[in-house]
Symmetry: C2
Subunit: 185 residues, 2 copies
Amino acid sequence: MPDLIEVFREHGYEGASLSLIGARTGLGKGSLYHFFPGGKEEMAASVLAEIDAWFEHRVFAPLRGDPDPEAAIAAMFQATDLYFRSGARMCLIGIFALCDARDRFAGAIHGYFATWTQTLAEAMVRSGRNPGEARDIAEDIVGGIQGALVLARAVNDPGVFARALRRLAVRGGGLSSVRHRDTQP
Amino acid sequence: MPDLIEVFREHGYEGASLSLIGARTGLGKGSLYHFFPGGKEEMAASVLAEIDAWFEHRVFAPLRGDPDPEAAIAAMFQATDLYFRSGARMCLIGIFALCDARDRFAGAIHGYFATWTQTLAEAMVRSGRNPGEARDIAEDIVGGIQGALVLARAVNDPGVFARALRRLAVRGGGLSSVRHRDTQP
DNA sequence: CTTGTTATGTACCGATCGGTACAAACATCT
DNA sequence: AGATGTTTGTACCGATCGGTACATAACAAG
C-alpha cells in the first residue's frame, strides 16, 4: 500500500481522512474496512510496521551485522538520502511524533528512533570510537536528519537536506569509506 | 493568550478544535469569535505573530545588532534553551511546518526559519567566518535544534535536547564567550 | 452452471467539526 | 437611573468525521 503511506505522510494521522485515503488509493470504505477491520488505526499501524521493516532491512540490520561498520554507516547515509528523496519526502514517523499520533503510536515511534540511534552508536563503537562519543554523534546524526527534513520543508529547499546529510556523513565517518581516505597512509 | 499558544503547540492546527481551545482558555465561542472574528485561522495567525515577535526581540535582533556577535550567539543558545524548556516544549512552527498548516501559513513558517538561519549566519560572518561556512553552520544549528526537539519528544527524553544544544553551541562558537577561552592567549 | 468466498459500493449512524445568530449580562459614562 | 457599548452563553447550521450494515458484484473451485 504505497498510496496509503503517502496519504499519512502528507496529511498526518488526523489529517488523513477516510475520504482522502479512499480517493488516493481508489478503494471504497467497503474494501478499506475489509482489509483493515481495525479502521484507521490499523491502517496507520500497518504503515508504521512497513516503514519499520524497510529501515530494519536497509539500515538497522546492516549497521548491526556488517563486518565493516564504516561501510554500513556510509550505506546508511545513502539509504537515507534515497528514502527521503534528497529532502523532498518527509519522515512520517517524525510527523507522527510531534503532531497528532504521538500518544497512540508512542511505542512504534520510540522504537524507530531509539533503534536507529542505538544501532548507529554501536556501529561507531565497533569502528573504534568510545561509547560516550558514539552516542553523542549518533544522536547528532539522527536528530540532524530529522531537523534537516523540517528545515528543508519549511524553507521549501531540498538543498538544505542535501547539505546537512553531507555534513553529518563527514561527522559520522561515513564518507571515509567512500572517499577511500583512511585506507591511504 | 499563552493558553491559546499552548493548545496549538500541543495539538497542531487541525487538532486544536474550538472545543479544546474553549476548554483550555475558559472562553466560550462567543468570546473567541469576538476577539478573533476570522475564526481559527486568525487565532493561529496571532499565535504565530506572537512567537515571531518573541524570537525577533530575544534572538534575531540581538544577532543582528549586538556589537559582539559571539556574545549574541551565546545568548541565542540560552534563549533557545529557555524557550523550549530544555526540550520539554515543542516548536509550534516546526509542527505547523510538517503537519497540517504548512500551506496555510507557508509565509510565516518560511520567514521564521529563514530569518533565524540568515541572521545567525550573518552574525558568524561578522565574527570572522567566511560566508559559505557560516551558512553551513547556521543551517546545522537551526536544523539541529529542530531535530533535537523531535528526537527528544519521540524518545521522551529531554536530555537529548540538552546534549544537542551543548554540541551545537560548541560548534557555533557560542560557548567560547561563556568559557572565556578565546580571550586567553 | 453452481457454489462458496472474497471484494466492493452505498446508504446510513451518532458525534464532532468550524462557524453564525442573537439575546442576555456586564461594564462604562453622563 | 438611563443609555451605550462591550463581552459572554447558548442554540443552532451544514459539512464532515470514523465507523457499521448489508446487498451485490467478482471470482475461483467443483
